[in-house]
């Protein structure tokens, strides 16, 4: 008998898909059994852009390398601003080494810089380093704050958006908080309705104690950005219902629509004045795992606590002391995130070029992908204002499978095409008599555009497979081939697409995308 008891937990659809992806990867590595159309599983379900081939920002990696191996700072390997930044950061570490322990809330120097960054971002609104805590990724920060919220009597609960970040329900489970989903209105650009918040909180009070409301802005996975009015509505609601605000603002620097502005919850709160600005309690979160830096493997983020008393600050420190410490390499990357190279700095040109190029590719990929999904039969996809996910809705005729249609579809996509996407099941009331529906979550940060079109073509093939299985005539499909911005001339679609799919070949000169739709069986011209 085991001293450690076994417990069973229902795996979420995402977890089931990941397990399957791992099994298939293992089989491929061992060269086992089933022959497949692919030799590698492509995971586009999480926000890991480096795994998709996006390169790290040079300045960040140079500074970290310099801090790791300071001998590099003596020679010509690095530009002067890298050298001085690394030296400054090292001087803040005990023994001048990033191998030393830091305070569990993070290096004071970095916390100071985060405070300056926040103040600058929010038009000069003061931010204090004592209210800023560096955590091992934003999730750990969120868990720490949620742990504190659980301390009160009664069954604590949190209002969460629907759809929510895919890791959120597991976090709530671990901490012991009841989730109370409030639906976002897709038809209104995924907006938040006061009436819906009211409905949720009123029904919840019968069986639990709502303590907080979780917001994702910019939205994960929907990509929507709240207007100032919407933010004010939420703040008023939180004030009236005595709720703590938990605001995930991780994609704040990944804005896809020209002239679209992001305004932080803190700024809106402070600018609302009395009686809200010093009453409503809030924590906002940011991390390295964002759309530009994508340094998920470095594990660092920060949180800012607003309008909380000394006791809560102290308690947060205590909780963090007993939690996983943030690796110093991550804290350094955070410092660069909040204080990047400025015009005139030696690294500025390269830095800004890398950031702009990344954003421009992301914008272009996103809009193509949204249009493409909308053209696929069964799919609808809202436009995306920020972040790195598209969140298309798929409606399929009822299946005879005992599994959910969504899981069935995604498992098929994984087994047949080797693509792992994220899955969000719809509520029962969303299905119709004849169709069931669900949402897919797909990361669209591929820089290598041949991969993008290959991914999307795989989705078509999957649809075709489903269509054949259900005796549904396939619709005309188009594959959009995106031309890398820097290249001119013809590009050819890789002819590995299933021959029965109707293929459009796109010819283009630099920056011009045109769609031609002949019926072609195969394309092989070079």
């Amino acid at each position: 008998m085991s001293a450690v008891r076994k417990t069973t937990r229902q795996p979420s659809p995402d977890e089931e898909l990941h397990e399957l992806a791992e099994t298939i990867t293992h089989q491929l590595k061992q060269g086992l059994s089933v022959s497949r159309l692919f030799n590698k599983v492509l995971d586009v379900s999480s926000g890991d852009i480096h795994s998709a081939g996006v390169k790290p920002i040079t300045f960040i990696r140079q500074v970290i390398a310099g801090c790791l191996y300071p001998s590099l700072l003596d020679g010509d390997d690095f530009p002067p601003d890298v050298q001085s930044r690394a030296q400054t950061l090292l001087s803040q570490c005990d023994g001048n080494s990033i191998g030393s322990y830091t305070d569990s809330s993070g290096l004071a120097y970095v916390r100071n810089n985060v405070a300056k960054f926040l103040s600058l971002r929010d038009g000069g609104i003061p931010s204090s380093p004592e209210h800023i805590f560096i955590t091992c990724g934003s999730q750990r920060g969120l868990m720490s704050v949620m742990t504190i919220l659980c301390q009160s009597e009664g069954r604590s609960a949190v209002l969460i958006p629907d759809p929510a970040p895919h890791t959120l329900t597991r976090i709530l489970e671990r901490v012991g908080l009841v989730p109370l989903p409030y639906r976002l209105q897709e038809q209104d650009g995924w907006s938040l309705e006061r009436a819906e918040l009211q409905r949720v909180i009123q029904t919840s009070r019968k069986h639990c104690c709502p303590r907080a409301i979780y917001i994702s802005n910019p939205g994960n996975p929907t990509g929507h950005i709240q207007s100032r009015e919407s933010i004010e509505t939420v703040i008023r609601f939180a004030a009236e219902e005595n709720l703590f605000l938990l605001v995930d603002e991780i994609y704040q620097n990944t804005l896809l629509v020209k002239d679209q502005e992001f305004v932080s919850y803190k700024r809106v709160l402070v600018e609302m004045g009395d009686p809200y600005h010093d009453r409503v309690q809030m924590t906002s979160f940011h991390s390295l795992s964002n759309g530009i830096m994508g340094e998920c493997g470095l594990r660092a983020g920060y949180m800012e606590l607003v309008n909380v008393d000394e006791a809560l600050l102290l308690y947060t420190e205590v909780v963090l002391t007993g939690d996983i410490n943030t690796p110093v390499s991550g804290q350094i990357a955070l410092d660069v995130m909040v204080d990047p190279p400025r015009p005139g700095d030696a690294s500025y040109d390269l830095y800004i070029q890398e950031v702009l190029s990344r954003m421009s590719t992301l914008r272009s990929n996103m809009s193509r992908a949204v249009n493409f999904m909308n053209d696929l039969s069964g799919f609808t996809c809202s436009s995306v204002q920020s972040g790195i996910y598209i969140y298309p809705h798929l409606s399929l005729p009822h299946t005879a499978h005992t599994q959910s249609a969504g899981l069935c579809y995604c498992r098929g996509l994984l087994e047949d095409q080797g693509v792992c996407v994220g899955l969000n099941e719809c509520k029962n009331e969303d299905h119709t008599d004849s169709h069931t529906c669900f949402y897919l979550r797909i990361t669209m940060s591929d820089v290598d555009t041949t991969h993008l079109s290959r991914d999307l073509s795989r989705v078509i093939c999957q649809m075709r497979r489903e269509g054949r299985a259900k005796n549904i005539q396939p619709h005309l499909c188009q594959i959009i081939h995106v031309i890398p911005v820097s290249n001119a001339g013809r590009r050819v679609l890789d002819a590995s697409v299933h021959p029965r799919v109707n293929v459009a070949v796109v010819w283009s000169r630099a920056r011009v995308l045109s769609v031609v739709s002949p019926f072609l069986a195969r394309v092989g011209e070079r």
Binding site: S2, V4, R5, K6, T7, P11, E15, H18, E19, E22, S46, D48, H50, S51, R61, Q62, I64, A65, L68, Y69, L72, C93, D94, G95, S97, I98, G99, S100, Y101, C136, G137, Q139, L149, Q151, E153, T167, R174, R211, N242, F244, R279, M293, E295, C296, G297, L298, R299, A311, L312, E317, V318, T321, G322, D323, I324, N325, P327, V328, S329, G330
Partner: protein, 477 residues
């Protein structure tokens, strides 16, 4: 409005109180010195934590070269780095998705590194097999300990789970246990016999524990923190037999396994000893052992690299643990890489071997010398006694206070060893930790000093301590 209606008092008070006072005062004094205030000393000497690099020791060159190249692969293109560094960096980057240390890895750690760690363990134990399936990479050993505690808590009994914990012990574990809702049941280490583990004491603690909770695990720290004790083979066998009898899960913290310096002291890993015992025991006793890159010659506390190896766990439980890991992101890649380098360092013939072995040898020699020197100085002082030091980073001498000192402390509402530490800090700038933070037998008092610092600093420390101690005894005699 405040959300703190019922906070866990133990967590809030116990951990911060002592550390905070000393830490704050140490920071204040440093600031005062910087502003030109005159004291009897030029700077505060911090021996309060087991942080090798903060003690002025340089990191291992090979480790930092490989890490720098992994973070900034452009460095691999010129010839400035030794061949074995570039080869290692290339082979690690190949295993990273997108060739970047910024990508997520498998949640329990990169397969290549787990494999490397399993081979390291097997080599260490003279060929006892070790499988990567049983190895999980974590953010330092701290995270691994927290996960095991969390697992122990995962049952629906109305009775709380308990863990037997040594006194004195490493405070983080106590805090983690409390925060995971696990009850601590202390067992005393026997100071008079060199801080050994006595099985009768384990039995007593277990009996005691059964009255208030459901003790399910036994936590051991070998080499000991703060005691510096290294268990003999017989002692380990006794403990394993006890765990087998009482069906306890063994949680064995072996982070100081690379730091053994006692004359004639041999280190045995729990796994090796277990494997050589009777098959009814070797295949039955469940065990989790922990190690990290934060201690020993690596000293890379800030990189956060640790692992745990699970032995004799039910496959269903292992499966559950994998699933638990899957619900969270992997541990930081830099830390995982540090583990690879710790488990598979340069070998004779490799270009980096000479420098590497010199650096490691110099650290080991330094700690050995510091331990000898410290014992010698302490032996000559009245009112301080010290058990023989065998391994680890710390010395935990006992202070024999005159009655007047004890009374003075009581009047100021603090523990006598805390009073001693505060005075020590004020008057000599030496920052050490009081024994009350680690747990000690009633009416005994200790301090803990770190030995992992440069020899000249250690000498300075010992002189300051000696001077202060004599004055303290005089003042309170």
């Amino acid at each position: 409005m405040s959300f703190l209606r019922e906070t866990s008092l133990v967590t809030k008070n116990a951990f911060l109180s002592e550390k905070d006072v000393l830490l704050r005062r140490a920071a204040q004094i440093t600031a005062e010195i910087q502003q030109g205030e005159r004291k009897g000393y030029k700077e505060v000497l911090d021996l309060s934590s087991g942080d090798l690099h903060s003690g002025g020791i340089k990191p291992i060159t090979f480790v930092r070269q490989v890490l720098a190249a992994c973070f900034y692969p452009a460095l691999l293109q010129d010839d400035s780095l030794p061949l074995d560094v570039t080869q290692r960096a290339n082979s690690l980057l190949k295993e990273c998705a997108g060739g970047s240390v910024g990508s997520y890895t498998d949640s329990s750690g990169m397969a290549k590194i787990k494999h490397c760690v399993s081979q390291f363990i097997s080599r260490r134990d003279g060929g006892v097999p070790s499988s990567p399936e049983n190895i999980f990479l974590t953010s330092g050993s701290q995270q691994a300990l927290m996960i095991m505690l969390k697992l122990l808590f995962q049952n629906e009994d109305s009775c709380q789970t308990g863990v037997l914990i040594p006194v004195p012990s490493y405070p983080f574990f106590n805090v983690a246990a409390v925060s995971q809702g696990v009850v601590m049941q202390p067992y005393r280490l026997c100071e008079e016999l060199g801080w050994t583990l006595q099985v009768e004491e384990l039995r007593r603690a277990l009996r005691e524990g059964k009255r208030t909770c459901n003790p399910m695990a036994l936590y051991i720290c070998n080499p000991g923190n703060p005691t510096g004790h290294v268990q003999s083979r017989e002692s380990i066998e006794e403990v394993i037999e006890f765990a087998a009898e009482e069906r306890l899960l063994l949680l064995v913290d072996e982070v100081y396994q690379n730091c053994i310096y006692g004359e004639g002291t041999e280190y045995y890993s729990y796994k090796k000893v277990l494997s050589e015992m009777d098959s009814t025991i070797s295949s039955a006793v469940e065990m989790a052992s922990f190690n990290s890159a934060s201690k020993g010659f690596m000293g890379e506390c800030g990189l956060r690299g640790g692992y745990m190896e699970l032995v004799n766990f039910d496959p269903a439980v292992l499966d559950y643990i994998h699933k638990l890991f899957n619900t969270e992101s992997c541990t930081v890649v830099a830390g995982q890489i540090a583990l690879d380098l710790m488990a598979d360092p340069p070998k004779p013939g490799d270009p980096s071997f000479l420098i590497f072995s010199e650096e490691v040898e110099s650290i080991k020699k330094m700690i050995r010398k510091n331990s000898h020197r410290t014992q010698k100085v302490l032996d000559e002082l009245p009112g301080i006694s010290c058990q023989p030091l065998k391994g680890g980073f710390f010395v935990f001498p006992r202070l024999h206070f005159p009655q007047k000192a004890i009374k003075c402390a009581k009047d100021r509402e603090m523990e006598p060893d805390m009073l001693y530490c505060l005075h020590l800090l004020e008057e000599t700038g030496l920052h050490v930790r009081p024994g009350c933070e680690y747990g000690q037998k009633t009416d005994t008092y200790h301090i803990r000093l770190c030995l992992a610092t440069r020899e000249e600093i250690m000498e300075d420390v010992l002189q300051r301590l000696k001077t202060f101690h004599m004055l303290f005894l005089k003042e309170f005699s």
